[in-house]
Symmetry: C2
Subunit: 336 residues, 2 copies
């Protein structure tokens, strides 16, 4: 929803001044202090049929997996460890029992992969042909002093991202616009990125262990690089220059884009649903971070820009050397 | 949804054997052990337009209050203290901003009344004229050894209930079947019980402080006395005899029922949405419990039956001395 963050912050104003709530609404997770050795992380995210998924494009198993994965990604984005999930479903009354069973199987598989227990559930039956809604609250933990938030970036920090960008958006594009020109194997790789994103759980843990003097701010890329980067800049009160030529694109996305003469950078900048981690690193520590992540997980980390004073705003540097404003575009593909 | 509990238990089987999850799916809340001095309680419940509420019968402020209240009631039913709420909304795309604002205002008011911070939010926009869904996860705390669950009742315990029964169902009846015979002031009292239930937070705390040797099991009446009592009997592996003449009915419900020649006990037994606490007490401690609750809160507690061996099943004793099976009926009024 447009302006969702601002709206929620507006609606929940007045809840910020509690010592047991070090961080409330406005980041990937809330941080809660229950006097335990670790802090509690809490996040909720819903997947709505027709908005976030369709039964045509994803199997029930994939729908269940993804519903949990997008929440796991929010815990990863704080550097935490997931623990418990509460799953609330609103079902169209004509949904079959076996379809529901398979959603849950996928969801519980994904939970087990990340040592997460499903501890609560709620099922409401809505009207016939109503939208299927899967709403999940995920709880996790983080060591005191190690949570990575959106608000710690400084001018001069290096902007980095895990993996590659735009694959999920390209995969969805191949579903919305079937075309015999897409190479079949490549198409499947991109569709898998859309259907079953892999939350960057281990990378998040490594980055939070490096600590907030090295990794200064972090979030996950769910709305799209431009949209999520604007949240990071706003919360940290900084600007940014992104170098287009440095954006990590997979060979799959390049190959599909080439076949249909599409600009793959449009997917990478604004596509969304990457569920990669976008974070900032104190100058001089870039190589250490890249190596720490790669040696432990095999996942690449790419520097894609530099944080700047806030008055500069968000800039995009093109390969030919000219610079333009980085436009924020987060659109809903299924809806549009 | 019919069989919701069994279904969720089935779907989440295999998550029960974790030492950090003393109690998983199947009670009013999950109990989680994060190595803090207190245990964490977690519950989620959704309110779906057309199933749990209508915009015709409740104002947006009331819808917001009730959405939180039904979750607060689940924390009360364990004897805990609420702390944090995460609120997920699925909105029809044509819902006005001011309507949403008022839902949130009601919800935040209710939260503030019970020292609960709204720490997370999520808003998804669904199709035009889609059902409005408010899904809330509520977290709370309970002292170790003090949580009251559904599974601790023994044969011989006394069954007790707070306040009175059937008022919300009677209030909804007056909305569904407008009739000039209802006394106006009485009608408003009953409708208020339906629109803005009062979670029995303080009573729950008092009962949990008495400890599980005195108060042996507890849940809240959301589906209706007969349905919720069947959950308690199943989880505790006991039977029960309820004495019809002892069911607490307010003068309001009696007066409305008399005007339309309706049996008020039908509302009290099967009506639902009372959000009173239903609990069992070790024999000999009844008076102590009644006095402890009444002196601290002014709320009445009524003995309504006796727990029996499970092979007896659920019985209803009529005033004329004959006994029959207590039928379990939990129907959805708005839907039917």
């Amino acid at each position: 929803m447009d302006g969702e963050f601002e709206l929620i912050a507006h609606l929940t104003r007045g809840f910020s001044a509690r010592s047991d709530v070090p961080l409330g609404v406005g980041d990937d997770c809330a941080i809660l202090d229950l006097n335990s050795d670790k802090l509690l992380l809490a996040t909720c995210d819903s997947q709505v049929e027709g908005i976030h998924f369709t039964r045509q494009f994803s199997s029930p198993d994939q729908i269940g997996r993804k519903a949990l994965a997008v929440n796991l990604s929010d815990i990863a984005a704080m550097g935490g460890e997931p623990c418990y999930a509460l799953v609330s479903l609103v079902l169209p009354s004509d949904l079959s029992r076996s379809y529901l069973d398979t959603i849950y199987t996928g969801l519980c598989h994904e939970a087990a992969r990340y040592s997460t227990a499903v501890v609560g559930g709620n099922i409401a039956s809505s009207g016939k042909s109503a939208a299927l809604v899967i709403d999940i609250t995920l709880l996790g933990t983080i060591e005191r002093g190690h949570a990575l938030t959106r608000s710690g970036a400084h001018s001069g920090d290096t902007l980095m991202v895990t993996g590659n960008l735009g694959a999920a958006a390209a995969g969805l594009h191949t579903l919305l616009h079937p075309d015999s020109r897409y190479p079949r194997d490549v198409q499947e790789v991109l569709r898998a990125a859309y259907r079953t994103p892999q939350p960057r759980m281990r990378v998040g843990r490594i980055l939070s262990q490096l600590g907030p003097t090295i990794v200064t701010a972090m979030l996950d890329v769910s709305d799209g690089l431009s949209g999520d980067l604007s949240h990071l800049c706003a919360r940290s009160n900084v600007g940014v220059r992104v170098e287009l030529a440095h954006l990590p694109l997979s060979s799959s996305i390049r190959s599909v884009a080439a076949r249909i003469s599409y600009d793959p950078f449009s997917w990478a900048l604004h596509g969304g649903e990457d569920y990669e981690l976008l974070f900032t690193v104190s100058p001089g520590h870039e190589q250490k971070v890249i190596e720490a992540v790669h040696s432990a997980t095999g996942i690449s980390v790419t520097p894609i820009g530099t944080m700047l004073p806030s008055e500069v705003g968000m800039k995009l540097l093109y390969p030919d050397g000219h610079e333009d404003a980085l436009e924020v575009r987060s659109w809903n593909h299924l809806k549009s």
